[in-house]
Symmetry: C3
Subunit: 342 residues, 3 copies
Amino acid sequence: MLITELASRCDARAQGGDATQSIHSAADIMSAQAHQVTVLSDGKYKKHLKDTQASACFIAEALIDAEMPAGLTLLVCQDPEISFLNAVKLLHPEPVFKRQVSEHAVLADTATLGYNVHVGPFATIGQNSSVGDSSTVEAGARIGNHVAIGKHCHIHPNAVIYDNSVIGNHVIIHAGAVIGADGFGYKFRDNQHVKVPHVGHVEIEDHVEIGANTCIDRGALGPTRIGAGSKIDNLVQLGHNNIVGRNVIICGQSGISGSCTIEDGAILAGSTGVADHVKIGARAVVMARSGISGDIEPGAQVFGSPAKDRKVAWKELAALAKLPELLQKFKALEARVHKLEE
Amino acid sequence: MLITELASRCDARAQGGDATQSIHSAADIMSAQAHQVTVLSDGKYKKHLKDTQASACFIAEALIDAEMPAGLTLLVCQDPEISFLNAVKLLHPEPVFKRQVSEHAVLADTATLGYNVHVGPFATIGQNSSVGDSSTVEAGARIGNHVAIGKHCHIHPNAVIYDNSVIGNHVIIHAGAVIGADGFGYKFRDNQHVKVPHVGHVEIEDHVEIGANTCIDRGALGPTRIGAGSKIDNLVQLGHNNIVGRNVIICGQSGISGSCTIEDGAILAGSTGVADHVKIGARAVVMARSGISGDIEPGAQVFGSPAKDRKVAWKELAALAKLPELLQKFKALEARVHKLEE
Amino acid sequence: MLITELASRCDARAQGGDATQSIHSAADIMSAQAHQVTVLSDGKYKKHLKDTQASACFIAEALIDAEMPAGLTLLVCQDPEISFLNAVKLLHPEPVFKRQVSEHAVLADTATLGYNVHVGPFATIGQNSSVGDSSTVEAGARIGNHVAIGKHCHIHPNAVIYDNSVIGNHVIIHAGAVIGADGFGYKFRDNQHVKVPHVGHVEIEDHVEIGANTCIDRGALGPTRIGAGSKIDNLVQLGHNNIVGRNVIICGQSGISGSCTIEDGAILAGSTGVADHVKIGARAVVMARSGISGDIEPGAQVFGSPAKDRKVAWKELAALAKLPELLQKFKALEARVHKLEE
């Protein structure tokens, strides 16, 4: 694609260099070569611009100055990240494969498929389940009974969706994810753990993405719910009856026990943990590896285990680094006081 | 089901309200509606009782007082949690599906199946493996060679059981769990990691439940063993040659390195970690996100990383919160001593 | 196998006992019985030697002394661990199964298989993908399109390898591992998380082992790479665009965010976490449960979250244990100073 075309299709204006060159792919600013396009979205990478071998670079007006390399075409735009992201999609289109229902899949006689549904080999779809228009169920995926999957969803290979799950539109579920297994609940009686029946289900709203090998347990009674637009990374554990709001971000290997409420726009960084029956307020940020044992206020930024306000937590950690010295200084001061007392 | 019938089948006595009403399902006390049954098992939720829309509520004698809502039928019983749990099972029976050995499964010619075994589509069962009466092997599950599975087991979709595993009766293995992969062991020689052969196996005793995507590695030599009645949550890593006792609870995302002994009734809360060759005593409790690097006494309750007695750990955390102020106070005290010395 | 033969095939010299006895299997020093071979590789287990029931024991010259049990044949060798490891392989050979391409697998018409390739039932291999000589693709494994798998690889059941992955020779990928799913990246615009397209891929070099249910995301642009000889345990999360060097060890449940560099020979113990864009130097050791937020020097040994030099971290933890007492002592000292001031 010519730089000129790329510019016009990605809301950018070509400036300098040779805009009649063709671009075949996208790369980051340090590894890009001739006939590649890159992006400068953060001023701290600006030093790499003068050495880039890229033919074109998306950039915001504000980052342009006199020292721009002469051979490079700048693609000046309002939102370089989004323009670049769109360029990547244009230059690296998803491969088109033949959509079909594999003769090697097993669909229950009461299962229903919308228009343009793809079902890969060895996938299974249970009784009374439905898959909406243009959705894809890849090889080896397991769709249980009474499962409703909306339109334009992508269920990746070997993902497992248990009975009664309800999945919206434009939902992506990556390989090996398990949606709707029993929650982990027992009552200890007569020297044995009596299993609490889990008769609830999982609800996943529109535009949610669920990472590979992530587990989302169904509710004991009622739903476990993931709100629209929320994104969940790989290897996350989301226990029974959690209610996750809209546009929530949960990063890799985080674990949320059960019956928690995570409000809209909250962010849980990697490997965080949340005790049960906790509420995390809207747009709160839980920093990586933190453990949450009580409610978090909307907008709060917390760190540590148990987590507290991140500034307080950092002050404590800074103080801890001085503690070994303090212990010595204290001994010395005690001796001085003892001398004064004599 | 009529309230009267529900009461008699769940060891309860109906009192008040209209016990001739029918109940169609169970719900928690805050979301229950008419024709639903709920439970009050913990006094702290008692405030919700007066507003509940439920038609009936399991309750212990001791929690009843004069202010009980008039329209509600109390289901008075000795153990409300267990009575309610049984009610949930009665009201939400597991769907009955046709049990069969799918024509789309592949069973080795030397594999043997008991009476009433169900094998789903695309499941595989290897040479010399056996599945006991009334057990279920769901779609896409992989049973290796020389595997013995007992009676009334439920192997969920896409679970993988490697060769030589021995599995008792009434065992549940959730989707995507991997039982019997190689342990992680190498010897570093001549600038390469030489793989330690793992020729042991995994033994899982009766009434064990293994969560989704959990991994239990086989022993290097001899078994990795999970004792009867133990329950393991999702995404747990249990390394080679661990010996887990009876009725042990291991919560989500915990990791036990290898060659550990976890004695009967111990509880490992979520995201705990255990170094190798450690013994955790009977009924010890390891609190969430703790890291265990040495033996834990029976009955101990530990917290932190590295973990110590929980009261000691909490005292230290409380002290840490005062440390930034202490550093300032110390400086002031030093100045006062200096002045006295002049 | 006779002890004499075992000795000669494992670079050892038989000394004492009855070397004409036969050995049928291997066991650890505490559980070994007659006709088993064991090993003493670490002096701290020497006390168990006098009670062992084993018929033979690999041992280094330096650990032999006058008190060796009379009935035991010592297998004296330079490297007891490696000699024993080889003995285990000889005594417990991997079962030979019939290698074939299952009639129940689905291979794209453009997929190519080398000589002696095994493909299990219900495996799938996509368009333009290749599997090299003597490699094994087990039941239910998913090999996407344009995937290159080298020779002597073992892809275990239900593992999933996404499109465009490049896998070297002698690579082991355990059950349920997911190679090449999308990285976790979004840009927040107009109240929604816009998905960053991931058009990169995963490269796995020779002699790498990937644990069960581990996830390795593909690069956004360019590769996520695992260098030759590196070993990754179960349930590890390796994010997009990480570059892992040669002979790196990453233990169970560790998580590496994205765009990190982990240099040759580094060791990440269990449940460690690494923030994005971090460099971990060659042969650095990150101790269990540590969290890395900044670059680590080659050869450094770090602990804690955020991690620092392990000796510094331990000194701080030791000081913390004295803090509750210090707070009390400080109050007492303040009172004494106050008295002096009067």
